[in-house]
């Protein structure tokens, strides 16, 4: 490999040799990609009756295999150093990347079960997206039982993008990964079976705002490239500590950090870039919402952590104030808006915004503890939120069969279907951060890291915000268990094997991570003695560079 440390100004990098690709390290990505491509072929060559089952089996096997391969790689990581790089260091395989990829794969597997749920031939997806809602044509397709099995390859490509997003080691690969992740999600958002107008609007809104934010991301990359003369994270880091290629180029780096931050914070969904979240979460088919709320959030934070800790790891003083402001705004504004929500999916969306704020407090810490806290929090939150959205898919309007989103309808649900209400109650308690749930441990970890890094005011705001949000979570629990059933009480579907599994996994993960967090929490990052760093920089041993 050509060493990257040479200054480009003197000898321009000319690549004339194909990289020595280690296919073993790439295997989880390759498997997911291959299954996506196979899925497209299945669409072309398998008869419509067999397509769904073929696609589902393929997708589950593919994601399962990718997960196993990811776990195998954790064992194969070298003892020395943080990890390995692939293909001229455009991709890394290190602990955080493998952890995030593993979590994403499990969450995708769970979401796939929700996506595949198919009651009486009625899934969550529209029979024919090209047919105008309410038209004769649409009716004919519903009667004929047409299905969009293309959603499975789309989900696979989205998952591929998420995996790449957390492992990309330069801005170009990261930008492509961002698009690979986002494009299928834009499409999937518009495919809901019921309330199709809402769904199509959600897709349009998500698409336009997503494209808008990726343009900001890209302009930020251009600025950083102008400063450092490279988009490789290690080179940018070096330029950040030694000064860039252009004399007095400080404004370039500042603008780059701010604009790249805008792009990433949009994907994460923090105030003031959160506007898309409630609308898109509400309009999208609920299984897709579950995938976005868990997988995309994990992937986006994985990328955000890598960008701020590795690429901008030498410029902590430049980005810390910005993230401070965003974290405080997020925790305050989103909590206040969340209290006024009347729709369960919007409420979960705002709750996701607030949680993003909590995780940002760990990012601000810029330390090993911060990284570990954020990683744990993301895993815990991902499982809980998938479970919560699975519950949402089960509660339907008495007539019509659309999901009953209105919270007043959920009154008294604890009496009519205690098990369902109890599991939702558990998820809400985890969101609120009550002890013995994973949410508590996660919050404790991120706040501890923030205090250790001297961000105590941020933690005070975080605790207050937790208290406000806890209020409305508890209000829903009280409503479910102690209020009279509403007049237009919803119809609660019996969870099928697929949805049942999802809720079960959510409950199990929430409790297990809450009661025995040790094994996970202690092994996330290398031991503390390796992770000291100079003031204003991020410890080097955390990520492969």
């Amino acid at each position: 490999m050509i060493p990257l440390s040479l200054s480009e100004a003197q000898t321009p990098t000319v690549t004339t040799q194909a990289p020595d690709l280690d296919y073993g390290l790439l295997s989880p990505l390759l498997v997911v990609f291959a299954v996506g491509v196979l899925g497209v072929l299945v669409e072309a060559f398998v008869s419509p009756q067999r397509r769904r089952i073929t696609q589902l089996v393929l997708a589950l096997l593919g994601i399962g295999a990718a997960f196993v391969l990811t776990v195998v790689q954790v064992g194969a990581l070298p003892a020395e150093g943080a990890g390995l790089t692939v293909a001229f260091a455009t991709l890394v395989v290190d602990r955080p990347a493998l952890f995030f990829q593993g979590v994403i794969l499990v969450l995708a597997l769970v979401s796939l079960l929700l996506i595949a749920e198919d009651r009486d031939g009625e899934g969550a997806f529209t029979a024919q997206a090209a047919a105008v809602p309410g038209s004769e044509e649409e009716r004919a397709h519903i009667l004929a039982g047409t299905r969009h099995t293309e959603v499975y390859p789309l989900v696979m490509f989205a998952v591929l993008g998420m995996q790449l997003f957390t492992a990309a080691n330069d801005f170009l690969t990261m930008f492509i990964a961002l698009e690979v992740m986002s494009l299928p999600l834009y499409l999937l958002c518009g495919l809901a079976r019921r309330r199709r107008l809402f769904s199509q609007e959600a897709a349009l809104k998500y698409f336009i705002l997503g494209a808008f934010s990726s343009a900001f991301f890209l302009f930020g990359i251009a600025m950083v490239y102008g400063y450092a003369g490279s988009v490789n994270f290690a080179d940018i880091n070096r330029a950040g500590s030694e000064g860039g290629l252009i004399e007095g180029g400080g404004p370039l780096l500042l603008a780059g950090i701010a604009l790249v931050g805008v792009g990433l914070l949009f994907k994460v969904g923090t105030v003031p870039f959160h506007n898309w979240k409630p609308d898109v979460y509400q309009g999208a088919p609920t299984p897709v919402t579950a995938l976005m709320a868990s997988g995309t959030l994990v992937a986006a934070f994985g990328a955000l952590l890598r960008v701020f800790y590795v690429a901008f790891g030498a410029s902590v003083e430049q980005w810390r104030p910005m993230l401070w402001v965003v974290a405080i705004l997020t925790m305050v504004v989103a909590a206040v808006i969340a209290v006024t929500q009347r729709d369960i999916k919007r409420l979960l969306a705002y709750s996701s915004v607030v949680h993003a704020g909590f995780i940002l407090t760990a990012v601000v810490a810029a330390s090993a503890d911060g990284l570990a806290g954020a990683m744990f929090y993301l895993a815990a939150y991902g499982f809980t939120t998938v479970g919560a959205f699975a519950v949402v898919t089960l509660v339907r309007n008495p007539e019509g069969g659309a999901e009953a989103g209105d919270l007043t309808q959920w009154a008294g649900l604890g009496r009519t279907s205690p098990l369902l209400a109890a599991s939702l109650g558990l998820f809400l308690l985890a969101f609120a951060g009550i002890p013995l749930t994973s949410g508590f441990i996660g919050k404790f970890a991120v706040f501890e890291a923030a205090v250790a890094a001297g961000a105590t005011p941020l933690v005070v705001v975080g605790v207050l915000s937790s208290a406000v949000t806890a209020f409305f979570y508890v209000r829903i629990i009280v409503l479910m268990f102690f209020a009279e059933p509403a007049e237009n009480a919803p119809r609660v579907l019996r969870p099928g094997a697929l949805t049942g599994t999802v809720v079960g996994v959510g409950v199990a993960a929430t409790l297990l991570l809450g009661v025995f967090p040790g094994p996970v929490l202690d092994n996330l990052v290398p031991q503390p003695e390796e992770t000291t760093a100079a003031e204003g920089t991020v410890p080097e041993a955390l990520f492969m560079r």
Partner: protein, 99 residues
């Protein structure tokens, strides 16, 4: 003339595109303004590429064009779908979701 002028031009065009996204109501024009922003980014990449004497900027600009092409297909498909449903490409007409 300093080559940074190209970057300043890119910043100006980028901002004009961003303003377009914020003020226009027609989804297709909004999307065109996003393309304008991407084009501005490309200009910055190409100019920096020459300043630094590395080809990386041009490579990125090339990838951006590919991404933009894919994005256009998806975006216009979504816009067409909405248009067929409600015979309008205005973002304002698409506001059922507002609470």
């Amino acid at each position: 003339m300093d080559p940074m002028n190209y970057i300043v031009l890119a910043a100006i065009v980028f901002t004009i595109g961003a303003v377009g996204v914020l003020v226009r109501r027609n989804a297709i024009i909004v999307f065109m303004c996003v393309e304008l922003m991407l084009n501005a980014c490309n200009l910055a990449f190409v100019a920096f590429s020459r300043m630094h004497g590395g080809i990386e900027g041009q490579v990125i600009a090339f990838f951006v064009m590919v991404v933009a092409a894919a994005e256009v297909v998806v975006g216009l498909a979504i816009i067409m779908q909405i248009f067929r449903t409600r015979r309008s490409a205005s973002i304002d007409d698409a506001n059922l979701l507002k609470n």
